[in-house]
Symmetry: C2
């Protein structure tokens, strides 16, 4: 183990916290986050993202701080800040830039900075390195060195955890790559793949979620076609997946901080280079429109059932962007809520991972984690939380009035308990 | 075993022949094909598609015939004729229609007709059934019954063979479905999946290849983007596929009778129903343009290397639509040949599965299965036949003059033996 390395991790969210805790088991780590509330919670052993157990957090040696002076003694920085998109679906690199400025104030001769945030190929060297040079006054690849190692955290997934996944690493020269490789080896037991360049490592990450996004988009497109043909999509998928190489994707909303976002980083850069990525963009467009489609189909079904839409009261099951996880980032269920409320529908939301104290803007909807019988004209099952599958479907049905539309987006309910599905 | 069934199979190509031979092991089968030459060959034990061994063919009990009178005693028909596309990429149902007319002349009370050809959802009942009714004068679902069971033959694949694949079956009513199910059980040992309707079974088939087509299209799009970024696509894929759920597709030409064709059946029907399937069509468009892209990149590289394009002599390795298979149907290598010849390039083709006797229209190119040293300005490795990987890469290089461009479309050559790759 290289004792000369003094590790600082910048950003303690879904990615940074598990990384800091893993390194904390084998060496000293400074864990820095700008968010003071987050730091206070972590110091108390509370991880609101649910990635790290209370007990583990209580016993970690990581020094959680939002005082940047704590980074003074660090010479190896790992940056794990968010890389979201703005309202026009263009990359928002502001967190990455401010993290680079922060690190720039603390690097010294021979420091190494590794980025884990998802970016487009080239971003580390084109965006981050110039900031590091400017702020530090040091010269890239002479005085300091960089690397890129894409995060592969799958929020809520307790199987594919950090140490069990192969980690891709890359560095700005061979020696740096070796140092980075050796460092990650301390915590990664599934093996490390050394990419031949930073750009290759950046590209590898961004295409993973692009592929997933497009595959879901295809199934969404198929479900829209099959709707017009009066064919049940899930029956078709059940038949198709009996073929050895059919890929078992499901229709649905694509939200969250990764799958619906990362492709835009790639398409942004491609279009800058005068290539129009029509396939990826067609997939994005459709996935982004699914909440609207769902709302229209639902309202159509209400009308068909002689339910007065503007007086109707609807319950949505699930608000997070995926099942069994409290993550609300970029959840497309909000888009459904917005559409329904725009149609003067009264919307309640049953989301066991959220409480009134969280003070979440529900866009006019109400949180109701204790629905009562005979209350609703319709239900949309939007997220397949385990809590919902543990419920007796009869109970879910009992929350509805006699005339009802239950819309099962996740194929989670038995046929007697649903009226339409995606 | 239902001894009342007298089986006739219509169409003895890649799909019908293995099916006939499999049934021939357990019961009497009439194997009918309109192509007299094909029938004569089969009677002599020769299968030009290479799906069935000479020895097996010699010993089969199947009665190969192109005399439709032989179908007089049949009461169960399986139709396995091609369903290609026309020049406008619209479904060409003429084979299916003429097979239906043929069968219509031979069905009797309680006959069952099962279609295996890939079609769009609805085609069996909308296109075939009316023809059967008209020609036979019998009434559908009273006098005769139909079913659909999609073929899953993978040409050249000796692992995923008929009896080892789950078969999807469906029928026009419950009793028919059971009869069809029992019949296929005689030869399918991997299990049978009963689809809930004919439309569901049709849909399941057409989406399998649509999914594959789109996934290859995505990788092609990525390879075009990465070319602009000067990133090696295969290095990126090697890194990405270290993630547990990354799907290992490769860039390339999409030809053949299935993957590049089936999606157009679905998009045709979708557009008839006023839905524009933008994702599927974007994928098709790109895959159909890849031969043109490949030709342009190659000519660009010749120019860069100061090779006089119009006097150049180029060798293409492989002409079939996939490796280790003699199938030339819809091979996109022909499109590359066309592009190169349009640029006044002299093109030779090395295709071990083809001989001069086959009298194939090479569009002005020459077959040369014995290339000589120091002859070519460039080589395009287009199909990764085992014959080529068995060659010493130095030998391939030796066929070129000193100034050369070797373009490896299949990532099949070591780096010293290639100059550009897809």
């Amino acid at each position: 183990m290289n004792q000369d390395i003094k590790l600082g991790i910048i950003g303690l969210g879904y990615v940074g916290l598990p990384l800091a805790v893993a390194f904390g088991k084998v060496r000293d780590v400074v864990g820095y986050d700008v968010n003071q509330e987050r730091i206070s919670e972590l110091q108390k052993g509370i991880d609101k993202t649910n990635e790290i157990d209370n007990k583990i957090l209580d016993n970690t040696s990581v020094k959680f701080t939002n005082d940047e002076k704590s980074l003074d003694n660090c010479n190896f920085f790992i940056v794990t800040v968010p890389t979201p998109i703005d309202d026009n679906c263009n990359p928002d690199l502001s967190y990455l830039e401010s993290a680079s400025r922060l690190v720039g104030r603390h690097i010294k001769i021979n420091s190494i900075i590794v980025y884990e945030s998802t970016v487009y190929p080239g971003a580390t060297e084109e965006i981050c390195v110039p900031i590091l040079e400017e702020i530090s006054g040091l010269k890239f690849n002479d005085d300091f060195f960089v690397g890129y190692s894409p995060e592969r955290i799958n929020p809520g997934d307790k199987v594919h955890t950090l140490d069990k996944l192969v980690k891709v690493v890359s560095g700005s020269n061979k020696k740096t790559t070796n140092v980075i490789n050796d460092l990650y080896k301390e915590i990664i037991h599934a093996g490390i793949h050394v990419a031949e360049s930073i750009k290759v490592a950046e590209a590898a990450k961004v295409i993973e979620n692009t592929q997933r996004d497009l595959n879901i988009a295809l199934i969404n497109e198929l479900s829209l076609i099959f709707k017009k043909m009066d064919i049940d999509t899930y029956s078709v998928l059940d038949a198709a997946k009996t073929k050895w190489n059919f890929l078992d994707f499901r229709p649905g909303l694509v939200g969250g901080h990764c799958i619906g976002v990362d492709p835009y980083y790639l398409t942004f850069k491609a279009q800058q280079l005068k290539y129009k990525p029509e396939i990826i963009l067609a997939g994005r467009k459709l996935n982004d429109s699914m909440a609207k489609n769902v709302s229209s189909f639902f309202i159509e079904a209400l009308n068909k059932n002689d339910i007065d839409v503007t007086k109707s009261r609807i319950l949505i099951l699930g608000l997070t962007f995926k099942e069994n996880c409290p993550d609300l980032r970029n959840s497309k269920v909000f888009d459904i809520v917005k559409e329904l409320i725009n149609n003067d529908i009264n919307v309640d939301i049953y989301e066991p991972n959220v409480s009134m104290e969280d003070k979440i803007d529900l866009l006019g909807a109400m949180l109701n984690n204790n629905p009562q019988q005979n209350t609703y004209d319709g239900i949309i099952l939007a997220v397949a939380h385990d809590e919902f599958s543990k419920l007796d479907p009869n109970e879910i049905v009992s929350w509805c009035k006699e005339k009802r539309v239950i819309y099962d987006l996740k194929n989670a309910l038995p046929s007697f308990a649903k009226d339409i599905s995606l």
